[in-house]
């Protein structure tokens, strides 16, 4: 491809937040007709850079030029008008409005100030057709699944006369066929000469679609590379800036044999547990030191199982026993009393209190366990927090900054630390590695291994089968809100067999 003039140039961008330097002299160039991947660990500054580019944040230093002209955006509205369109990771649409309106609000066609609804619907249908999405554009957005909402967000971004399209982790909630669909669309946009900035944690996807990439680390730019000229291993090394020992340890660790475990009385066992409309009755036993993986497609009932075991939802049939004793879980508090811990899938809304500091967030569960009348002494708090910040390598290592200022991976670690302090018998991890980078992912996987070696029972939920197989002693397969198979992780088990179980609904 001939080296053309860059369409967008960001030069020496700097941005600081109280206590954190998020970006330090970062450069970024986007070329027309190219997909450019922005890579980096959590906390490397990717999100901040994107927010600066799209006008949501103001940078303290540096300048941006678009098509040769220097620009400064007062807000997302101006950036959008200049031709920079964004699809954020968290879907930023209005669930109360119709699909058609979400696609076009802010620039709906009008005549004499009157919105032409028929034109709005027609235009929305055209745009969704381009994504091969066939839904009623008059229906409320909130009634659709996350994947569909994501597609609607992309349709919205496409409608603008966009020169630059920013996709911030658009694939994290899409399944394989939806990702293919998105990539087809992205290739189409490339042909049209649009510059696409693509942020993702899936390395394979980068190599599939990106022409060029910029790697960030700790708020600095490591370099700009052509995808063809950088091996995957070198990319990871550039991202984490240290050798790959951690990652390789995990990759090469022998498969965890089920035989090693002595299975006495299960720590937690469910017997015919179910809840109408959420999950069909299932039986599942988790033993001391055992990692049970839950595999299944998005919406197959994985989170529902976790919520029942944690008492967050009430079961309408069946029983739970802890150490062989039947217990009634009336809610999260009684589950906590039984030493069951749950890290929810959506850490931002269900897990962390963003305004509170790292220390306060970590202490929360322990404090709740003790009751408000017996505050954890400050000295003890500092000691505990310091220990876990170190053990989990939470960065920045300052316990007194608000959790909001941390990156996704570090927030996940804070959530883990909170539950580890309570020394649970069973730890339920719902998608702990979703949306975080390789380095942090490897660390969290390693932690799961350590915990189970230490005798903790773990229920590990993940959409990534490789990860489930690597860590679990036993894999429970869910399909259509039903537990369809329980597979011991022995030599014969591989992703194909699990996939087959998911697909066929039984042991392959």
């Amino acid at each position: 491809m001939p080296e053309s003039e860059p369409l967008l140039v960001m030069r020496g961008i700097g941005k600081r937040f109280p206590g954190v330097v998020a970006l330090d002299g970062v450069d970024l160039r986007l070329f027309p007709g190219e997909v450019h991947a922005l890579m980096g660990e959590n906390g490397a500054g990717k999100s901040t850079l994107i927010k600066v580019l799209t006008g949501a944040y103001h940078h303290d230093q540096g300048d941006i030029s678009l098509a040769g002209e220097s620009v400064a955006f007062a807000g997302p509205h101006q950036a959008r008008q200049a031709g920079i369109s964004t699809v954020y990771q968290e879907i930023n649409l209005c669930p109360n409005l119709s699909v058609a309106e979400n696609v076009l609000i802010g620039r709906a066609p009008t005549r004499f100030g009157r919105i032409r609804w028929s034109a709005v619907r027609r235009r929305a249908e055209e745009l969704l057709d381009r994504l091969h999405l066939n839904i009623d554009v008059g229906s409320d957005l909130g009634t659709h699944s996350i994947a569909v909402q994501q597609m609607v967000a992309i349709a919205r971004a496409l409608d603008v006369d966009a020169k630059v399209l920013v996709l911030d982790e658009p694939t994290s909630s899409l399944d394989a066929s939806e990702v293919d669909q998105l990539f087809r669309v992205m290739r189409g946009l490339k042909e049209e000469g649009i510059a696409v900035l693509f942020v993702t944690h899936f390395l394979d996807q980068v190599y599939e679609i990106a022409d060029r990439m910029t790697v960030l680390r700790n708020g600095r730019r490591v370099g700009e590379y052509r995808t063809a000229e950088l091996s995957q291993l070198d990319l990871v090394a550039a991202m984490i800036g240290k050798d790959l020992a951690v990652l390789e340890d995990i990759e090469e660790a022998p498969r965890r044999e089920v035989a090693v475990l002595e299975r006495g009385t299960p720590v937690v066992s469910a017997d015919g547990l179910g809840r109408a409309g959420a999950i069909a009755p299932f039986s599942l036993a988790i033993h001391k030191g055992e990692v049970v993986g839950l595999a299944g497609l998005l919406g197959s009932g994985r989170t529902e199982v976790a919520r029942l075991l944690f008492g967050a939802d009430r079961a309408d049939q069946g029983q739970i026993a802890v150490d062989g004793e039947p217990v009634a879980l009336r809610g999260p508090q009684s589950a906590m009393r039984q030493k069951i811990a749950y890290c929810p899938e959506n850490r931002r809304t269900d897990g962390l209190v963003e305004e509170l500091t790292v220390r306060e967030n970590i202490i929360l569960a322990l404090q709740a366990d003790r009751g408000w009348a017996r505050p954890v002494p400050r000295g003890k708090q500092d000691e505990l927090v310091a220990r876990y910040v170190r053990a989990l390598d939470i960065r920045p290592a300052d316990p007194e900054i608000p959790v909001r200022n941390l990156s996704g991976g570090n927030q996940q670690k804070v959530l883990l630390a909170r539950w580890l302090i309570t020394e649970p018998k069973l730890m339920i991890l719902d998608e702990p590695t979703r949306g975080i980078d390789v380095g942090a992912k490897a660390e969290i996987q390693k932690l799961v291994v350590e915990l189970s070696d230490g005798g903790m029972a773990v229920l590990f939920i993940s959409a990534e089968l490789e990860e489930v197989l690597r860590l679990s002693h036993k894999v429970a397969v869910l399909r259509d809100r039903k537990l369809v198979a329980e597979l011991d992780n022995t030599d014969g088990l591989d992703t194909d067999r699990v996939m087959a179980a998911i697909a066929s609904g039984g042991v392959a």
Binding site: L93, N96, E101, I105, G106, S145
Partner: protein
């Protein structure tokens, strides 16, 4: 192609759905059914209730409430609240009465009154947006301020004898054997304009978007700040217009006029099916809500042996029912 078949469990709201009504129209439909039931009850129980003039009287007696509730609908749709409306209504009647007493011409008094209301709303909107003050607090301040100003003007009632005012107040527009007042025309015009704005203009849709998710609305490039300030300005303007309409009805200005009326307006909007959390509701519902409140009063008047406090009791009961209904509907959306 994306699978649309997986459906969450049926909710109460879904089971309630006997006839195929779209989810979002359910609260408005419920209000319409309630209104029809109340009307039917009145017609069966009380002789003379079926007279069309009875319905028109509900409009005549509640025209000012309708105007104020329209402004309140805009505010609640963005997820806000405006507690100042009753006080602004009272202040408007005072200012109008005072200026007319001092010989100002009606053609000047009217715009001055409206401008004053809009300005109060605008200032509260600025406070809410730029200083990130809770709408509840900002408008609570506005409520005390406006009510207090009434008593600075006068602690007594000031009567209005301006000929224009009196003639508007006494005008009856007859058609067939029935009549309405100019106030009713004003209220209906306000309703129609507002309904059009909400359904067919960019600003109207921004109101819904901001109520749905202000963060998203901002990232979608909508002018959230402008929208929020505008809805409080509109509410202030509607309150002032409501005050003018009330001054036609009362022909006096008094600091005790419209006391507690902000709560009637909120009740009407909520009974009309607008979610207090914002983002969902229709102006048509607000009209129905005002009619429900008016009809309760009429029925109690017809009953004759009930204290007027029963009005409040019924309003309270209906509010409970509608808030529970709203929960059922929103849970489905989660």
């Amino acid at each position: 192609m994306i699978d649309m078949k997986s459906r969450p469990e049926q909710t109460v709201a879904e089971r309630l759905r006997v006839i195929p009504v779209r989810q979002k129209y359910l609260p408005v439909t419920a209000t319409a059914v309630l209104l029809a039931l109340m009307y039917g009850l009145g017609v069966i129980n009380y002789p003379g209730f079926s007279d069309t003039q009875i319905v028109l009287n509900v409009f005549i007696d509640n025209a000012f409430l309708l105007v104020v509730a329209v402004g309140m609908t805009f505010v609640i749709l963005t997820g806000g609240i405006d507690l100042s409306v009753g006080s602004v209504v009272a202040l408007t009647t005072m200012v109008v009465a005072l200026l007319l007493e001092n010989g100002w011409p009606a053609a000047v008094v009217l715009p001055v009154a409206l401008l004053m209301g809009a300005t109060i709303g605008f200032l509260m909107g600025l406070m809410i947006h730029y200083f990130d003050v809770q709408p509840f607090i900002a408008t609570l301040a506005g409520m005390f301020l406006a009510r207090g100003l009434c008593y600075v003007i006068s602690t007594d009632s000031i009567s209005i004898d301006n000929p224009f005012w009196v003639s508007v107040a006494n005008a009856q527009l007859w058609f067939g054997g029935f009549f309405i007042t100019i106030s009713v025309l004003i209220a209906l015009a306000v309703v129609l304009i507002a309904a059009y704005v909400l359904a067919y203009t960019t600003f109207g849709r921004d109101v819904y978007a901001v109520g749905g998710n202000p963060q998203s609305a901002m990232l979608m490039g909508l002018r959230v700040g402008r929208t929020r300030i505008a809805v409080y300005t509109i509410s202030g303007l509607c309150s002032a217009l409501g005050g003018v309409v009330l001054s036609f009805y009362m022909l006096s200005g008094y600091g005790l006029h419209a006391s507690g009326m902000e709560l009637d307006a909120i009740a009407a909007v909520v009974i009309g099916g607008t979610l207090l959390t914002g983002g969902s509701g229709y102006l048509f519902g607000t009209v129905l809500g005002v009619l429900v409140l008016g009809l309760i009063q009429t029925i109690i008047t017809f009953q004759g042996d009930l204290s007027s406090w029963w009005t409040k009791i019924f309003i309270g009961l209906f509010l409970f029912v509608f808030i529970v209904l709203q929960r059922a509907v929103t849970r489905r959306r989660r």
